[in-house]
Symmetry: C2
C-alpha cells in the first residue's frame, strides 16, 4: 500500500525520538495501519549541526515552508516549539489539507481553539497527546475513556522540573535555591527556569486538560497561577510533620456548571495517591462522578516517552486516513464556560503566622476567623526556635477564597501578627 | 437526529449503572455523538423482581432472544455474564449486524478470538473495556495510547477481592480465613470465592491484556495461575520486614518475541508504584520500551465505575455508526505466539525453609543453589520462635524456572530440610 508521508518540524529531543520510533518500530506500525509511514522531510534550524541520530541529509531543510508546502506530505508532526510563527505554519498546513500532530502545549493552550476550528473547517485531524504529561495518554483518556462520565476534578503533577525540586527538598531537607542549582546542572531545569518554577508551564497544560475534561473552552488567563519559588524548606518540614507532601498541583474543579482552574503549591495528604508521585514523574488524578477516583502515572517528558505519544497520534491520523474520517471526530467544546466566583472557590488552607509571644493573641486571631465565618480544623501555637516570636499553625476547614482574602487582609493590619509567613492550599 | 437504540442484556449491578448513566448523562452523551441514545429493551431473568432503579416495565423481557432479534436495535450491551449461551446470543447479534459492548471477561478470555473474527466478518464493533479493571480505560490505552510503543511488561492488580484480602492481612496481621470471612460479609467476596482467590478471574483478565499488549492471541491456558489461599500472615510479615508488600500480581512479560503470562502472589518492593495500590482498587502497570514506566489506577469493579467503561464503549460505537466505520478499526492479533520455555522464564525468588537446627545445614543448602547455578541475593538463618527447627530465608537473584524447579525438587529429598514453607516471586 502507498506509504504515508510525514513532514517533521524540529529535530531536537522529541523529534529525534520520533525518528527513532518511526524507524525502529516500522514493522509494528505498518502492521497496525496497513501501510509504511515515511518521514519525508525534516525542518531544522541548522542543517549542518552534529546530531546523535543518523538521518538522510537530503531530507533536511532549514525552511519550515519547504515542509508545509510539499504536496507529497500528508501529515505534519510539529515538535519545534514556538508560538506565533509555528501557528502560521500549522494554519497554512491545515489550509493545504494536511493533518497535524503537535507536542506544543504553549501553542495549544494559547491558540488551540483557533487551530481546532480551522481543522474542523478543513476536515483535518489535529492531535496533541504529547502536549500534556509526555508519555501518559491522558488526553485520549479524557476524550474517550471518560466520554460517558461527568468529570468533577482533575489534579495534575504536570511539570517534572518542579516535582523534581519539591521531591528533593522534601527528601533531603534542602533549600529551593540549592536544589534548583543542582537541577540545572543535571539538565532537569533550564538556565532560565521561570516558566517551570513559576507555574506557567503547568498552567498551560491545565488549560488544555480543563478544556477537555469540562468540554468547554478554558483559556490560559482563566488559570490562577502561583509557582514554587517561595516555598521554603521550613514549609515542607511543617507539611511533612502534619502528614502532607508539598506538590505543585494543577487543579481543575467543577461544581454543577461552574469551574475553576489553578496551579499552586499544595499540601497533599500523604495517603492520597498523587502524594507519592516523586521526582520527574508526572501524574494526573481524575475524579469522575461515576468512575470515582482514578490516576494515570508516567514520564512527563523526555525524548522517548514524549515521542511515544507523538507517534501514537500519528498512528491515529493514519488509521483515520485509511478510513477517510479525518477531522470527523474532533472534540468541539459545547459547554458555555462559567468561572466560579471567589465565593464559590472553596478549599482548605494551611497558614503559618509569626506573632507576638503574649497572652490573648490566639484569641484575637481565632476571633477574626469567626468573624468571616472560616472554621478551623486545627490550631497550634508554639515557640519559634529561630526568634522571639511565637508561631501559629492553622489548618482551616473548607473556606471560600473571598472569606480567606478578607481574613488575610485583616491580618495584615493586625499589630500582633508580625508576619504571614506561609499560606497554602490543603488537599485530601 | 434518529436515536440510536440499545438492547441491554442483564440488569444486575453493572446493568443498573448503565441505565443510570445513559439516562442521567443523556444531554452530555447526545452532545458528543449527535443523537439520543435510547435503551430500547432489557433482558432480565425475572421481570417482576424488585429493583433499585425505576425502569419502564414494558421494556423488560425474560427472553434474551427478544432483544437479539429486535430489528430496531443497533447495539447490544451485554452485562449478564455467562459463557456458552451468552456467546450464542452475541454471535447471533453479530450475524444480524448489531454491534456489541460487553463487560464479560470470562467470555472474552475464552472465546474472544472467535467473537472478534465474526465481528470483523460482519464489519461490526465489539468493545470490551469493562472486562478488565472496571473503570480504568486500560484496553484503550494499550490499543491506542501505546500503539507506537513495544510493550515489554504488564503487571496488574486486576482482582479487587484478593487485593482487599491481602491489604487487610497486611495492615492488621490477620489470617487469610478471618479476612475472607469478613470480606464475604461485606460483599467484597462471593459465597464461593474460588474464582477470585485461586486467581482464575485475574488470569482471564491477564489473557485479555496479554493479547492486546503483545498483539498476539493469548489463551487462558497460556496463563500459569496460583491463588492466594495458601498465603499466611507469617509470609506477609516476612515480606514487610524485608521491605515488600504481598500482592496477587498478573504479570505478562516479553523478551524479544517470547512471552510468558502468570498470576501469582508476589512480593513487590514497597517503593514500586503498584505496591501501594490497596483495598479493592485495581491498577495496571505498563512498561514500554519507549515510554518507560506508566501506571493506571482506579476502581476495578462496582456499579458505576464499570458502567462508565461500558457506556464509553457505547459512545465509541455510536460515533463509529455516525461515521459508518464500525468494525474497521478492529485489532487483529498479527504476531505469532511464542511462549517462553522454563529456561527463559526468569525472576527473583523468596524462599522460607524450615530446617534442622544444626551446623552445616546452610552450607548444604547454598551448595545446592550453586549446583543449579542459582545465585543468591541474601540468606538469613534464624531460630524459629514456634518450634525447634531453624528458619532460613533466602532471596535469589534472577533465576530460571527450570533451575528453581530442580532446586526445589532436590530440597524435597534433602533430609535436613523439614519443610519448604513458602516460595514466592519477588518483583522490584
Amino acid at each position: 500500500m502507498k506509504p504515508v508521508k510525514v513532514g517533521l518540524l524540529g529535530l531536537g529531543t522529541v523529534g529525534t525520538g520520533v525518528v527513532r520510533i518511526v524507524e525502529g518500530h516500522q514493522e509494528d506500525l505498518s502492521s497496525q495501519v496497513g501501510s509504511p509511514i515515511v518521514i519525508e522531510k525534516i525542518a531544522v534550524r541548522n542543517i549542518d549541526k552534529l546530531r546523535n541520530i543518523a538521518v538522510d541529509h537530503s531530507k533536511l531543510t532549514d525552511d519550515p515552508w519547504d515542509v508545509i508546502r510539499d504536496p507529497e506530505i500528508d501529515v505534519i508532526v510539529e515538535v519545534m516549539g514556538g508560538i506565533d510563527s509555528t501557528k502560521e505554519y500549522l494554519l497554512e498546513a491545515l489550509d493545504r489539507g494536511k493533518h497535524i500532530v503537535t507536542a506544543n502545549k504553549d501553542l495549544m493552550a494559547l491558540h488551540g481553539a483557533e487551530i481546532l476550528a480551522k481543522a474542523q473547517e478543513k476536515q483535518c485531524d489535529v492531535f496533541y497527546e504529547a502536549s500534556v504529561a509526555g508519555g501518559i495518554p491522558i488526553i485520549r483518556t479524557l476524550i474517550e475513556g471518560f466520554s460517558s462520565d461527568r468529570i468533577m476534578k482533575i489534579m495534575g503533577i504536570v511539570n517534572g522540573t518542579t516535582n523534581y525540586i519539591l521531591t528533593k527538598m522534601s527528601r533531603e531537607g534542602a533549600s529551593y535555591d540549592e536544589v534548583l542549582r543542582e537541577a540545572q546542572q543535571l539538565g532537569y531545569a533550564e538556565a532560565d527556569p521561570t516558566s517551570d518554577v513559576e507555574g506557567l508551564d503547568a498552567a498551560r497544560k491545565m488549560a488544555i486538560l480543563g478544556s477537555l475534561g469540562f468540554r468547554t473552552d478554558v483559556e490560559l488567563s482563566d488559570v490562577s497561577v502561583r509557582g514554587i519559588s517561595q516555598v521554603t524548606k521550613e514549609d515542607i518540614a511543617y507539611a511533612k510533620r502534619l502528614g502532607y507532601e508539598m506538590k505543585l498541583l494543577g487543579i481543575a474543579e467543577r461544581q454543577d456548571d461552574e469551574i475553576t482552574i489553578s496551579v499552586q503549591p499544595t499540601m497533599v495528604k500523604q495517603s492520597h495517591p498523587i502524594a507519592s508521585v516523586n521526582g520527574v514523574f508526572n501524574a494526573v488524578y481524575v475524579y469522575g462522578e461515576a468512575v470515582g477516583e482514578t490516576m494515570f502515572y508516567g514520564a512527563g517528558a523526555g525524548e522517548m516517552p514524549t515521542a511515544t505519544s507523538v507517534v501514537a497520534d500519528l498512528v491515529a491520523v493514519v488509521k483515520n486516513l485509511k478510513l477517510g474520517v479525518n477531522g470527523l471526530k474532533a472534540i468541539i467544546p459545547y459547554k458555555t464556560k462559567k468561572l466560579k466566583t471567589d465565593e464559590q472557590i472553596v478549599y482548605k488552607y494551611f497558614l503559618l503566622l509569626h506573632v507576638d509571644d503574649k497572652a490573648g493573641v490566639l484569641a484575637q486571631i481565632t476571633q477574626i476567623f469567626a468573624e468571616y465565618e472560616v472554621s478551623l480544623a486545627s490550631v497550634v501555637q508554639q515557640p519559634n526556635p529561630d526568634n522571639p516570636d511565637a508561631e501559629i499553625i492553622i489548618i482551616t476547614h473548607d473556606a471560600s477564597k473571598a472569606s480567606m482574602d478578607k481574613v488575610l487582609k485583616h491580618f495584615e493590619n493586625l499589630s500582633v501578627i508580625r508576619r504571614i509567613k506561609s499560606v497554602y492550599r490543603v488537599e485530601g
